[in-house]
């Protein structure tokens, strides 16, 4: 059965080799740049670019929400097996998971009281 997949392996290796060789060859055949290369760091705006844009202000709540989502999403991922096999795990598993959720509940209350879930007072 595994032998049937040999052509696919060869195909996969070819598919890897062709782009890798393109990138590698462009390093091999690269020419040394001439002097005025500062223009290449700025965005292309049909020749009228005035350099990099200054950093804009952004709402930090986006970052906080995303970060906290990751943490609690991992918690949910741990809860899925419990949900599927609750019969096999029984009361012992349930109580163990309840401790797990309790620890994370402490963390949740902390961020709630700290104001990480608020979205600012400005309108």
């Amino acid at each position: 059965m595994l032998r049937d997949w040999l052509p696919f392996l060869i195909y996969g290796l070819m598919a890897l080799a062709i782009p890798v060789s393109m990138i590698a060859m462009s390093f091999v055949f690269a020419q040394r740049p001439s002097r005025r290369t500062q223009a290449r760091t700025i965005p292309f705006e049909s020749g009228v670019s005035e350099g990099q844009m200054p950093a804009q202000r952004f709402t930090v709540s986006f970052y906080l929400t995303a970060m906290l989502f990751i943490v609690f999403d991992i918690e949910i991922v741990f809860l899925y097996p419990l949900a599927v096999q609750l019969n096999a795990l029984g009361w012992f598993g349930f109580v163990e998971f309840a401790f797990f959720v309790l620890i994370l509940l402490v963390a949740y209350v902390y961020i709630w009281r700290k104001g990480a879930l608020d979205w600012g007072t400005s309108g």
Binding site: S34, R35, R36, T37, Q38, A39, R40, F44, G47, V48
Partner: protein
């Protein structure tokens, strides 16, 4: 038999020659049509004149992907700065063709607005005269550029760099 004949007979080549050949066969121009010469430049992509046989029908809008800058049309002083910025944003190796009389020397516009020759701001490899040059004339310029590159003549910026040192 000389070395060249031997090379041609056996299909051998040096790495530089092979790379130069490949660069010649896929020298993508930048979309730098400014004025009337741009019409003639557009027509070389058509079936009658067909630069696709040189692998050059892919006009790149971004200078980062272009090899060849065909300055086709009169360059006003206002346009000179964007032209120089676009030329700087191109990657080496790069070539410049001054197409038409206005790009070569200001053409019929000998006044205060038009840059009197684009070689005042960028190094030029090939000048294609006439107003506007026929598509065949532009293709002759392109073919001569290919021949020069195959023969080992360095692009204009390299020659300028070597001359200034």
């Amino acid at each position: 038999m000389g070395a060249d004949e031997l090379e041609r007979a056996l299909g051998l080549t040096t790495l530089e020659k092979a790379v130069r050949w490949a660069q010649t066969k896929s020298m993508w121009p930048d979309t730098f049509g400014l004025a009337c010469c741009a019409i003639e430049m557009m027509s070389i992509v058509s079936a009658r004149y067909d630069i696709a046989r040189f692998g050059m029908e892919a006009f790149r809008s971004s200078p980062r992907q272009a090899d060849l800058l065909i300055v086709s049309g009169r360059v006003a002083h206002k346009m000179a700065a964007p032209l120089r910025q676009i030329y700087d944003q191109m990657l080496e190796p790069k070539w410049v063709i001054a197409m038409g009389a206005c790009a070569s020397s200001g053409g019929m516009f000998n006044n205060y607005t038009i840059l009197q020759g684009v070689d005042r701001i960028v190094p030029v490899d090939i000048y294609v005269p006439f107003c506007p040059p026929r598509p065949e004339a532009l293709m002759e310029g392109i073919i001569r550029l290919h021949e020069a590159h195959l023969a080992g003549i360095a692009p204009a910026y390299e020659r300028k760099l070597a001359a200034s040192q």
